[in-house]
Point group: C2
Amino acid sequence: MFPKIHQAPRSTLPLMKESPGVVDLLGLLAYAELSAYARMTEDATTLAPSLADRMALSELAVTEYAHFRLLRDRLAELGADPAEAMSPYVAALDAWHAQTRPADWLQALVKTYVGDGIAHDFYREGARHLDPSIADLVDEVLVDEGRSQFAVERVRAGIEADPKAAARLALWARRLVGEALSQAQQVAAARPELALLLVEAGGGQADISRLFAKLTEEHGKRMAAMGL
Amino acid sequence: MFPKIHQAPRSTLPLMKESPGVVDLLGLLAYAELSAYARMTEDATTLAPSLADRMALSELAVTEYAHFRLLRDRLAELGADPAEAMSPYVAALDAWHAQTRPADWLQALVKTYVGDGIAHDFYREGARHLDPSIADLVDEVLVDEGRSQFAVERVRAGIEADPKAAARLALWARRLVGEALSQAQQVAAARPELALLLVEAGGGQADISRLFAKLTEEHGKRMAAMGL
Protein backbone atom coordinates (compact mmCIF):
# COMPACT_ATOMS: atom_id res chain seq x y z
CA MET A 1 0.00 0.00 0.00
CA PHE A 2 2.92 2.34 0.58
CA PRO A 3 4.82 2.45 -2.70
CA LYS A 4 6.59 5.73 -1.97
CA ILE A 5 8.61 4.57 1.01
CA HIS A 6 12.31 4.98 0.43
CA GLN A 7 15.26 4.61 2.75
CA ALA A 8 16.21 7.54 4.95
CA PRO A 9 19.82 8.68 4.81
CA ARG A 10 21.44 6.77 7.66
CA SER A 11 22.87 9.96 9.08
CA THR A 12 19.48 11.18 10.26
CA LEU A 13 18.76 8.13 12.39
CA PRO A 14 21.11 8.77 15.36
CA LEU A 15 19.82 12.32 15.59
CA MET A 16 16.30 10.97 15.96
CA LYS A 17 17.34 9.14 19.07
CA GLU A 18 18.27 12.46 20.65
CA SER A 19 14.84 13.92 19.88
CA PRO A 20 12.27 11.44 21.15
CA GLY A 21 9.55 14.00 20.46
CA VAL A 22 10.09 13.74 16.69
CA VAL A 23 7.95 10.65 16.20
CA ASP A 24 5.35 12.29 18.46
CA LEU A 25 5.30 15.43 16.35
CA LEU A 26 5.21 13.58 13.03
CA GLY A 27 2.51 11.23 14.34
CA LEU A 28 0.38 14.15 15.49
CA LEU A 29 0.87 15.98 12.23
CA ALA A 30 0.12 12.81 10.19
CA TYR A 31 -3.16 12.20 11.98
CA ALA A 32 -4.05 15.88 11.72
CA GLU A 33 -3.63 15.65 7.94
CA LEU A 34 -5.48 12.33 7.66
CA SER A 35 -8.43 13.60 9.67
CA ALA A 36 -8.45 16.98 7.89
CA TYR A 37 -8.62 15.17 4.56
CA ALA A 38 -11.59 13.09 5.77
CA ARG A 39 -13.51 16.02 7.27
CA MET A 40 -12.91 18.37 4.36
CA THR A 41 -14.05 15.66 1.97
CA GLU A 42 -17.24 15.25 4.00
CA ASP A 43 -17.81 19.02 4.16
CA ALA A 44 -17.21 19.32 0.40
CA THR A 45 -19.67 16.51 -0.31
CA THR A 46 -22.44 17.55 2.06
CA LEU A 47 -22.17 21.36 2.24
CA ALA A 48 -20.85 22.74 -1.06
CA PRO A 49 -23.54 24.79 -2.83
CA SER A 50 -22.35 23.74 -6.31
CA LEU A 51 -20.29 21.05 -8.01
CA ALA A 52 -17.60 23.67 -8.73
CA ASP A 53 -17.32 24.49 -5.00
CA ARG A 54 -17.34 20.81 -4.14
CA MET A 55 -14.47 20.19 -6.58
CA ALA A 56 -12.49 23.11 -5.14
CA LEU A 57 -12.75 21.95 -1.52
CA SER A 58 -12.16 18.31 -2.51
CA GLU A 59 -8.95 19.44 -4.18
CA LEU A 60 -7.79 20.98 -0.87
CA ALA A 61 -8.82 17.81 0.98
CA VAL A 62 -6.74 15.61 -1.31
CA THR A 63 -3.78 17.96 -0.88
CA GLU A 64 -4.01 17.28 2.86
CA TYR A 65 -3.89 13.59 2.03
CA ALA A 66 -0.75 14.10 -0.06
CA HIS A 67 0.83 15.72 3.02
CA PHE A 68 -0.29 12.77 5.11
CA ARG A 69 1.56 10.45 2.68
CA LEU A 70 4.82 12.38 3.14
CA LEU A 71 4.57 12.16 6.93
CA ARG A 72 3.55 8.50 6.91
CA ASP A 73 6.51 7.65 4.72
CA ARG A 74 8.93 9.63 6.90
CA LEU A 75 7.65 7.85 9.99
CA ALA A 76 8.24 4.52 8.26
CA GLU A 77 11.75 5.64 7.28
CA LEU A 78 12.46 6.42 10.93
CA GLY A 79 11.48 2.87 11.80
CA ALA A 80 8.20 3.92 13.41
CA ASP A 81 4.85 2.29 12.67
CA PRO A 82 2.71 5.13 11.28
CA ALA A 83 -0.54 3.84 12.79
CA GLU A 84 1.11 3.46 16.18
CA ALA A 85 2.66 6.93 16.00
CA MET A 86 -0.71 8.50 15.17
CA SER A 87 -2.85 6.60 17.65
CA PRO A 88 -2.19 8.79 20.76
CA TYR A 89 -3.73 11.78 18.94
CA VAL A 90 -6.85 10.21 17.45
CA ALA A 91 -9.10 11.00 20.41
CA ALA A 92 -8.08 14.69 20.71
CA LEU A 93 -8.30 15.45 17.00
CA ASP A 94 -11.55 13.53 16.54
CA ALA A 95 -12.97 15.44 19.51
CA TRP A 96 -11.95 18.73 17.92
CA HIS A 97 -13.67 17.79 14.66
CA ALA A 98 -16.79 16.55 16.47
CA GLN A 99 -17.03 19.81 18.42
CA THR A 100 -16.47 21.95 15.34
CA ARG A 101 -18.74 20.34 12.77
CA PRO A 102 -19.65 23.13 10.32
CA ALA A 103 -23.36 23.84 9.96
CA ASP A 104 -23.05 25.39 6.52
CA TRP A 105 -20.70 26.08 3.63
CA LEU A 106 -19.25 29.35 4.99
CA GLN A 107 -18.50 27.73 8.34
CA ALA A 108 -16.77 24.91 6.48
CA LEU A 109 -14.58 27.40 4.60
CA VAL A 110 -13.72 29.34 7.76
CA LYS A 111 -12.82 26.06 9.45
CA THR A 112 -10.58 25.07 6.54
CA TYR A 113 -8.72 28.35 6.62
CA VAL A 114 -8.58 28.99 10.37
CA GLY A 115 -8.09 25.34 11.35
CA ASP A 116 -5.31 24.82 8.84
CA GLY A 117 -3.73 28.09 9.93
CA ILE A 118 -3.66 27.32 13.65
CA ALA A 119 -2.37 23.83 13.02
CA HIS A 120 0.34 25.15 10.73
CA ASP A 121 1.56 27.75 13.24
CA PHE A 122 1.58 25.16 15.97
CA TYR A 123 3.48 22.45 14.06
CA ARG A 124 5.94 24.89 12.58
CA GLU A 125 6.77 26.01 16.09
CA GLY A 126 7.26 22.40 17.14
CA ALA A 127 9.55 21.81 14.17
CA ARG A 128 11.72 24.89 14.93
CA HIS A 129 13.72 22.93 17.46
CA LEU A 130 14.21 19.81 15.35
CA ASP A 131 16.80 18.31 13.08
CA PRO A 132 16.75 20.46 9.89
CA SER A 133 15.65 17.55 7.65
CA ILE A 134 12.52 17.15 9.79
CA ALA A 135 11.93 20.89 9.95
CA ASP A 136 12.18 20.99 6.14
CA LEU A 137 9.66 18.17 5.81
CA VAL A 138 7.23 19.98 8.10
CA ASP A 139 7.70 23.15 6.07
CA GLU A 140 7.05 21.22 2.87
CA VAL A 141 3.86 19.72 4.29
CA LEU A 142 2.63 23.01 5.65
CA VAL A 143 3.42 25.29 2.74
CA ASP A 144 0.22 26.97 1.74
CA GLU A 145 0.94 27.78 -1.90
CA GLY A 146 -2.05 30.08 -1.96
CA ARG A 147 -4.43 27.12 -1.70
CA SER A 148 -6.44 28.68 1.07
CA GLN A 149 -6.94 31.80 -1.04
CA PHE A 150 -10.00 30.01 -2.38
CA ALA A 151 -11.53 29.86 1.11
CA VAL A 152 -10.68 33.49 1.83
CA GLU A 153 -12.28 34.71 -1.38
CA ARG A 154 -15.48 32.73 -0.90
CA VAL A 155 -15.87 33.88 2.71
CA ARG A 156 -15.36 37.54 1.75
CA ALA A 157 -17.92 37.16 -1.04
CA GLY A 158 -20.33 35.47 1.37
CA ILE A 159 -20.05 38.34 3.84
CA GLU A 160 -20.50 40.86 1.07
CA ALA A 161 -23.72 39.13 0.00
CA ASP A 162 -24.96 38.83 3.59
CA PRO A 163 -23.24 41.30 5.98
CA LYS A 164 -25.06 39.80 8.96
CA ALA A 165 -23.05 36.61 8.44
CA ALA A 166 -19.85 38.33 9.63
CA ALA A 167 -20.72 38.35 13.36
CA ARG A 168 -21.83 34.74 13.25
CA LEU A 169 -18.64 33.64 11.46
CA ALA A 170 -16.40 35.65 13.80
CA LEU A 171 -17.99 33.81 16.74
CA TRP A 172 -17.48 30.52 14.91
CA ALA A 173 -13.79 31.29 14.34
CA ARG A 174 -13.33 32.08 18.05
CA ARG A 175 -14.92 28.75 18.90
CA LEU A 176 -12.54 26.94 16.52
CA VAL A 177 -9.55 28.50 18.29
CA GLY A 178 -10.91 27.87 21.77
CA GLU A 179 -11.58 24.20 21.07
CA ALA A 180 -8.16 23.82 19.42
CA LEU A 181 -6.31 25.27 22.42
CA SER A 182 -8.33 23.11 24.78
CA GLN A 183 -7.41 19.95 22.85
CA ALA A 184 -3.78 21.08 22.49
CA GLN A 185 -3.53 21.45 26.27
CA GLN A 186 -4.76 17.89 26.79
CA VAL A 187 -2.33 16.55 24.20
CA ALA A 188 0.57 18.42 25.81
CA ALA A 189 -0.34 17.03 29.23
CA ALA A 190 -0.57 13.47 27.89
CA ARG A 191 2.60 13.65 25.74
CA PRO A 192 5.26 15.50 27.72
CA GLU A 193 8.00 14.77 25.16
CA LEU A 194 5.98 16.57 22.55
CA ALA A 195 5.39 19.53 24.86
CA LEU A 196 9.14 19.62 25.52
CA LEU A 197 9.78 20.20 21.82
CA LEU A 198 7.99 23.51 22.19
CA VAL A 199 10.07 24.71 25.12
CA GLU A 200 13.40 22.90 24.90
CA ALA A 201 15.21 25.66 23.04
CA GLY A 202 15.24 27.42 26.40
CA GLY A 203 12.85 29.97 27.71
CA GLY A 204 10.46 27.49 29.30
CA GLN A 205 7.33 29.34 30.34
CA ALA A 206 8.48 32.43 28.43
CA ASP A 207 8.71 30.31 25.28
CA ILE A 208 5.16 29.06 25.74
CA SER A 209 3.93 32.62 26.24
CA ARG A 210 5.71 33.61 23.05
CA LEU A 211 4.08 30.68 21.22
CA PHE A 212 0.61 31.72 22.31
CA ALA A 213 1.29 35.34 21.41
CA LYS A 214 2.47 34.22 17.98
CA LEU A 215 -0.61 31.99 17.44
CA THR A 216 -2.90 34.85 18.44
CA GLU A 217 -1.14 37.29 16.15
CA GLU A 218 -1.31 34.95 13.14
CA HIS A 219 -4.95 34.15 13.87
CA GLY A 220 -5.73 37.87 13.90
CA LYS A 221 -4.14 38.24 10.47
CA ARG A 222 -6.27 35.40 9.10
CA MET A 223 -9.46 36.90 10.54
CA ALA A 224 -8.61 40.22 8.89
CA ALA A 225 -7.91 38.49 5.58
CA MET A 226 -11.43 37.05 5.62
CA GLY A 227 -12.93 40.38 6.58
CA LEU A 228 -13.90 39.16 10.06
CA MET B 1 -7.64 25.23 -8.93
CA PHE B 2 -6.90 23.06 -11.96
CA PRO B 3 -3.13 23.29 -12.47
CA LYS B 4 -2.88 20.13 -14.58
CA ILE B 5 -4.98 21.32 -17.51
CA HIS B 6 -3.02 21.23 -20.73
CA GLN B 7 -4.13 21.75 -24.31
CA ALA B 8 -5.61 18.83 -26.20
CA PRO B 9 -4.07 17.98 -29.56
CA ARG B 10 -6.26 19.90 -32.00
CA SER B 11 -6.80 16.78 -34.09
CA THR B 12 -9.03 15.21 -31.45
CA LEU B 13 -11.52 18.06 -31.43
CA PRO B 14 -13.31 17.43 -34.74
CA LEU B 15 -13.65 13.76 -33.86
CA MET B 16 -15.45 14.75 -30.67
CA LYS B 17 -18.10 16.48 -32.71
CA GLU B 18 -18.91 13.18 -34.37
CA SER B 19 -19.34 11.48 -30.99
CA PRO B 20 -21.68 13.65 -28.94
CA GLY B 21 -21.83 10.90 -26.32
CA VAL B 22 -18.17 11.44 -25.41
CA VAL B 23 -18.78 14.34 -23.05
CA ASP B 24 -21.68 12.35 -21.59
CA LEU B 25 -19.47 9.34 -20.94
CA LEU B 26 -16.59 11.36 -19.49
CA GLY B 27 -19.01 13.40 -17.35
CA LEU B 28 -20.62 10.24 -15.99
CA LEU B 29 -17.25 8.65 -15.33
CA ALA B 30 -15.93 11.84 -13.68
CA TYR B 31 -18.85 12.06 -11.27
CA ALA B 32 -18.62 8.33 -10.58
CA GLU B 33 -14.98 8.83 -9.53
CA LEU B 34 -15.70 11.99 -7.51
CA SER B 35 -18.54 10.33 -5.61
CA ALA B 36 -16.61 7.07 -5.14
CA TYR B 37 -13.74 9.07 -3.61
CA ALA B 38 -16.14 10.79 -1.19
CA ARG B 39 -17.98 7.62 -0.16
CA MET B 40 -14.87 5.50 0.22
CA THR B 41 -13.32 8.26 2.35
CA GLU B 42 -16.41 8.25 4.56
CA ASP B 43 -16.43 4.44 4.81
CA ALA B 44 -12.71 4.41 5.65
CA THR B 45 -13.22 7.04 8.36
CA THR B 46 -16.34 5.63 9.97
CA LEU B 47 -16.08 1.84 9.42
CA ALA B 48 -12.40 0.78 9.36
CA PRO B 49 -11.58 -1.38 12.39
CA SER B 50 -8.02 -0.03 12.66
CA LEU B 51 -5.91 2.93 11.55
CA ALA B 52 -4.03 0.60 9.19
CA ASP B 53 -7.29 -0.41 7.47
CA ARG B 54 -8.41 3.20 7.39
CA MET B 55 -5.17 4.22 5.68
CA ALA B 56 -5.51 1.39 3.15
CA LEU B 57 -9.06 2.32 2.10
CA SER B 58 -8.25 6.04 2.14
CA GLU B 59 -5.41 5.31 -0.27
CA LEU B 60 -7.91 3.68 -2.67
CA ALA B 61 -10.28 6.63 -2.24
CA VAL B 62 -7.59 9.14 -3.17
CA THR B 63 -6.68 7.04 -6.21
CA GLU B 64 -10.28 7.47 -7.36
CA TYR B 65 -9.80 11.20 -6.95
CA ALA B 66 -6.65 11.09 -9.09
CA HIS B 67 -8.76 9.44 -11.81
CA PHE B 68 -11.38 12.15 -11.38
CA ARG B 69 -8.66 14.76 -12.03
CA LEU B 70 -7.70 13.10 -15.34
CA LEU B 71 -11.31 13.08 -16.52
CA ARG B 72 -12.00 16.64 -15.34
CA ASP B 73 -8.95 17.87 -17.21
CA ARG B 74 -9.90 15.99 -20.38
CA LEU B 75 -13.39 17.46 -20.27
CA ALA B 76 -11.87 20.92 -19.96
CA GLU B 77 -9.56 20.18 -22.90
CA LEU B 78 -12.60 19.25 -24.97
CA GLY B 79 -14.07 22.65 -24.17
CA ALA B 80 -16.70 21.20 -21.82
CA ASP B 81 -17.40 22.58 -18.34
CA PRO B 82 -16.65 19.64 -16.02
CA ALA B 83 -19.36 20.54 -13.49
CA GLU B 84 -21.94 20.87 -16.27
CA ALA B 85 -20.87 17.58 -17.85
CA MET B 86 -21.21 15.77 -14.51
CA SER B 87 -24.48 17.30 -13.35
CA PRO B 88 -26.90 15.01 -15.26
CA TYR B 89 -25.53 12.02 -13.34
CA VAL B 90 -25.45 13.38 -9.80
CA ALA B 91 -28.95 12.21 -8.88
CA ALA B 92 -28.53 8.63 -10.17
CA LEU B 93 -25.10 8.07 -8.61
CA ASP B 94 -26.06 9.72 -5.31
CA ALA B 95 -29.18 7.53 -5.24
CA TRP B 96 -27.02 4.44 -5.79
CA HIS B 97 -24.74 5.41 -2.91
CA ALA B 98 -27.67 6.27 -0.63
CA GLN B 99 -29.29 2.88 -1.34
CA THR B 100 -26.04 0.98 -0.82
CA ARG B 101 -24.64 2.53 2.34
CA PRO B 102 -22.45 -0.18 3.95
CA ALA B 103 -23.45 -1.19 7.48
CA ASP B 104 -20.01 -2.50 8.38
CA TRP B 105 -16.40 -2.80 7.23
CA LEU B 106 -16.83 -6.01 5.20
CA GLN B 107 -19.81 -4.53 3.34
CA ALA B 108 -17.69 -1.45 2.61
CA LEU B 109 -14.92 -3.63 1.14
CA VAL B 110 -17.35 -5.67 -0.96
CA LYS B 111 -18.88 -2.43 -2.22
CA THR B 112 -15.45 -1.06 -3.13
CA TYR B 113 -14.54 -4.17 -5.09
CA VAL B 114 -17.90 -5.02 -6.67
CA GLY B 115 -18.96 -1.42 -7.27
CA ASP B 116 -15.65 -0.50 -8.89
CA GLY B 117 -15.79 -3.67 -10.94
CA ILE B 118 -19.28 -3.12 -12.34
CA ALA B 119 -18.52 0.50 -13.09
CA HIS B 120 -15.29 -0.42 -14.84
CA ASP B 121 -16.92 -3.06 -17.05
CA PHE B 122 -19.68 -0.65 -17.94
CA TYR B 123 -17.46 2.32 -18.80
CA ARG B 124 -14.95 0.20 -20.68
CA GLU B 125 -17.82 -1.04 -22.84
CA GLY B 126 -18.91 2.53 -23.47
CA ALA B 127 -15.37 3.49 -24.43
CA ARG B 128 -15.00 0.59 -26.91
CA HIS B 129 -16.77 2.57 -29.60
CA LEU B 130 -14.91 5.83 -29.05
CA ASP B 131 -11.99 7.69 -30.52
CA PRO B 132 -8.85 5.74 -29.43
CA SER B 133 -7.44 8.66 -27.39
CA ILE B 134 -10.60 8.65 -25.25
CA ALA B 135 -10.64 4.87 -25.01
CA ASP B 136 -7.00 5.03 -23.82
CA LEU B 137 -7.89 7.62 -21.18
CA VAL B 138 -10.74 5.48 -19.90
CA ASP B 139 -8.42 2.48 -19.78
CA GLU B 140 -5.86 4.53 -17.86
CA VAL B 141 -8.48 5.65 -15.35
CA LEU B 142 -9.90 2.18 -14.91
CA VAL B 143 -6.72 0.17 -14.70
CA ASP B 144 -6.84 -1.74 -11.46
CA GLU B 145 -3.13 -2.29 -10.79
CA GLY B 146 -3.99 -4.82 -8.15
CA ARG B 147 -5.36 -2.10 -5.86
CA SER B 148 -8.52 -4.01 -5.14
CA GLN B 149 -6.48 -7.03 -4.06
CA PHE B 150 -6.53 -5.43 -0.62
CA ALA B 151 -10.34 -5.62 -0.50
CA VAL B 152 -10.38 -9.20 -1.80
CA GLU B 153 -7.89 -10.37 0.83
CA ARG B 154 -9.69 -8.70 3.72
CA VAL B 155 -13.08 -10.08 2.65
CA ARG B 156 -11.69 -13.62 2.32
CA ALA B 157 -10.08 -13.33 5.76
CA GLY B 158 -13.36 -11.97 7.18
CA ILE B 159 -15.29 -14.96 5.82
CA GLU B 160 -12.68 -17.36 7.13
CA ALA B 161 -13.03 -15.85 10.60
CA ASP B 162 -16.83 -15.86 10.40
CA PRO B 163 -18.18 -18.31 7.78
CA LYS B 164 -21.76 -17.16 8.42
CA ALA B 165 -20.81 -13.76 6.96
CA ALA B 166 -20.57 -15.26 3.45
CA ALA B 167 -24.33 -15.59 2.85
CA ARG B 168 -24.97 -12.08 4.14
CA LEU B 169 -22.22 -10.60 1.94
CA ALA B 170 -23.38 -12.53 -1.14
CA LEU B 171 -26.86 -11.02 -0.66
CA TRP B 172 -25.27 -7.58 -0.24
CA ALA B 173 -23.30 -7.99 -3.49
CA ARG B 174 -26.50 -8.94 -5.36
CA ARG B 175 -28.18 -5.84 -4.01
CA LEU B 176 -25.24 -3.70 -5.20
CA VAL B 177 -25.63 -5.08 -8.72
CA GLY B 178 -29.42 -4.78 -8.73
CA GLU B 179 -29.34 -1.15 -7.63
CA ALA B 180 -26.59 -0.38 -10.15
CA LEU B 181 -28.55 -1.84 -13.08
CA SER B 182 -31.67 0.00 -11.96
CA GLN B 183 -29.82 3.34 -11.90
CA ALA B 184 -28.05 2.56 -15.19
CA GLN B 185 -31.43 1.99 -16.87
CA GLN B 186 -32.67 5.38 -15.70
CA VAL B 187 -29.48 7.10 -16.89
CA ALA B 188 -29.75 5.40 -20.30
CA ALA B 189 -33.36 6.50 -20.66
CA ALA B 190 -32.52 10.10 -19.72
CA ARG B 191 -29.33 10.31 -21.85
CA PRO B 192 -30.04 8.59 -25.17
CA GLU B 193 -26.73 9.73 -26.69
CA LEU B 194 -24.89 7.91 -23.96
CA ALA B 195 -26.98 4.79 -24.48
CA LEU B 196 -26.22 4.99 -28.19
CA LEU B 197 -22.49 4.69 -27.43
CA LEU B 198 -23.21 1.21 -26.15
CA VAL B 199 -25.06 0.04 -29.24
CA GLU B 200 -23.77 2.16 -32.13
CA ALA B 201 -21.17 -0.35 -33.27
CA GLY B 202 -24.13 -2.25 -34.68
CA GLY B 203 -25.97 -5.10 -33.10
CA GLY B 204 -28.54 -2.94 -31.33
CA GLN B 205 -30.52 -5.12 -28.95
CA ALA B 206 -28.05 -7.99 -29.48
CA ASP B 207 -25.24 -5.68 -28.37
CA ILE B 208 -27.09 -4.81 -25.18
CA SER B 209 -27.70 -8.47 -24.44
CA ARG B 210 -24.00 -9.12 -24.97
CA LEU B 211 -23.15 -6.23 -22.60
CA PHE B 212 -25.35 -7.63 -19.85
CA ALA B 213 -23.95 -11.14 -20.37
CA LYS B 214 -20.43 -9.70 -20.09
CA LEU B 215 -21.26 -7.72 -16.92
CA THR B 216 -22.80 -10.82 -15.33
CA GLU B 217 -19.81 -12.97 -16.25
CA GLU B 218 -17.29 -10.47 -14.82
CA HIS B 219 -19.36 -10.04 -11.67
CA GLY B 220 -19.36 -13.81 -11.19
CA LYS B 221 -15.57 -13.84 -11.40
CA ARG B 222 -15.33 -11.12 -8.74
CA MET B 223 -17.69 -12.98 -6.41
CA ALA B 224 -15.57 -16.11 -6.79
CA ALA B 225 -12.39 -14.12 -6.08
CA MET B 226 -13.87 -13.01 -2.75
CA GLY B 227 -15.01 -16.53 -1.93
CA LEU B 228 -18.69 -15.60 -2.25
